[in-house]
Symmetry: C2
Subunit: 238 residues, 2 copies
């Protein structure tokens, strides 16, 4: 199998970072400090489940484009009452939105990205998180990239095709020589439709140990166990 | 003196990299391979002297915005006849444009940026080079940044104010908490006018040993001998 690429861009929430345990921990800490109690993992899951529908409304033009932080705040405000957490104050809510800037990486993500940094492949994020969020997140998580690319630069959100095509244009690479790496089949399907190559990394624990793991999408170019394995495959082929 | 900043963005051509010796070397190699002879440093200087006027025409709206690679090519084509280098072929000209993707860093740039990466300050490029150019240049030169920002993201060129303001917006920092670092007084003057803080690093050899060095602009917030010194000053204050 031949896969000639010049650059690889990575999904971040889920593919490189464990948003579920990170956000649950911050909810427990910040909520606990405010004297509140809840099933914090369930709050995290409910928050995250609002993500795709709300971003979908932006992609469909039903909501104006706005930074992910603003959308995260809207989703949080919608979710809290259902858990009896209306009492959570303004500064706590703002701090929780910033929990998404401080996600913990999966253990293979940092070492795998270092390996790729030492290869000829140009690496970047390609996330729905904004540029500022991604710069902070990758810095504190020790995730080394050659550049930070965001859906923000296309003023849209994945899976809109212009997000993938803007990344290729900014990197000055042909879409067919740009690899999208993600654990979400719909992200990879949209990238493939825009002409990119695709690599699937399973993250069976993304939604916790009880959730059913995702299968790789049909037609994916590469499946790798983790980022270190992916780096080995790309370096071998590079 | 107090200088509270959240992020620092760096000029690249001149401030972090020695474009003159790098491009002169590539001209000598590529021109020599084509059997041509010239004062290659003079060709480099003439090429670079076209830079500000041509970018100024884009900022003034007299030329449509286009990637820096395209402008570098226009400038090169204008310069070559004056040196009797009309014979230089199409592939050689294209390769020379890419010489600006492979510039050598000044020796303090890499170590200084590593120090800043280990501080709370978010670092980025802020160059007239495009995102793809900057990703390649910083990767091969070992210049570590938390993100790559370019005038391209404002579809303009420095010293247009929207270039500086777009950087602050993407980083989600107040302009007054963003530091522009450069060896060019006009870059810093424009950044200050847009509300940024400014740091001057002298690069007396930018135009070769015979050129007069630039003075720091009036009102600059910080003057540092090199990037390592700057990192020490910012970490001390951070």
């Amino acid at each position: 199998m031949s896969l000639e690429i010049d650059a690889a861009v990575f999904d971040v929430f889920g593919t490189l970072t464990d948003w579920r345990s990170s956000v649950t921990e911050e909810l427990a800490e910040i909520g606990g400090r405010a004297g509140l109690h809840a099933d914090w993992a369930a709050v995290t899951d409910a928050w995250r489940r609002r993500y795709r529908p709300v971003l979908g409304r932006v992609v469909a033009g039903e909501l104006p484009w706005q930074p992910l932080d603003a959308l995260h705040r809207i989703m949080l405000d919608e979710v809290l009452p259902g858990f009896g957490l209306d009492a959570l104050g303004e500064p706590e809510r703002a701090e929780l939105v910033r929990a998404w800037h401080r996600l913990r990486p999966w253990p293979d993500a940092g070492p795998g990205l270092e390996l790729l940094h030492d290869s000829p492949v140009i690496t970047g994020t390609l996330s729905n998180g904004g540029v500022g969020l991604l710069a902070r997140l990758t810095k504190q998580a020790g995730l080394r990239f050659d550049c930070v690319l965001s859906a923000e630069l296309a003023r849209s959100y994945k899976p809109a095709p212009q997000v993938y095509l803007t990344a290729a244009e900014l990197l000055e690479v042909e879409p067919g020589r740009l690899l999208m790496v993600a654990c979400h089949p719909d992200d990879l399907e949209a990238a493939a439709k825009a002409g990119l190559r695709t690599a699937f990394i399973p993250r069976p624990l993304e939604w916790g140990p009880a959730a059913a793991p995702a299968d790789p999408p049909a037609g994916v170019d590469l499946v790798a166990e983790d980022v270190v394995t992916l780096a080995g495959l790309l370096r071998g082929r590079g």
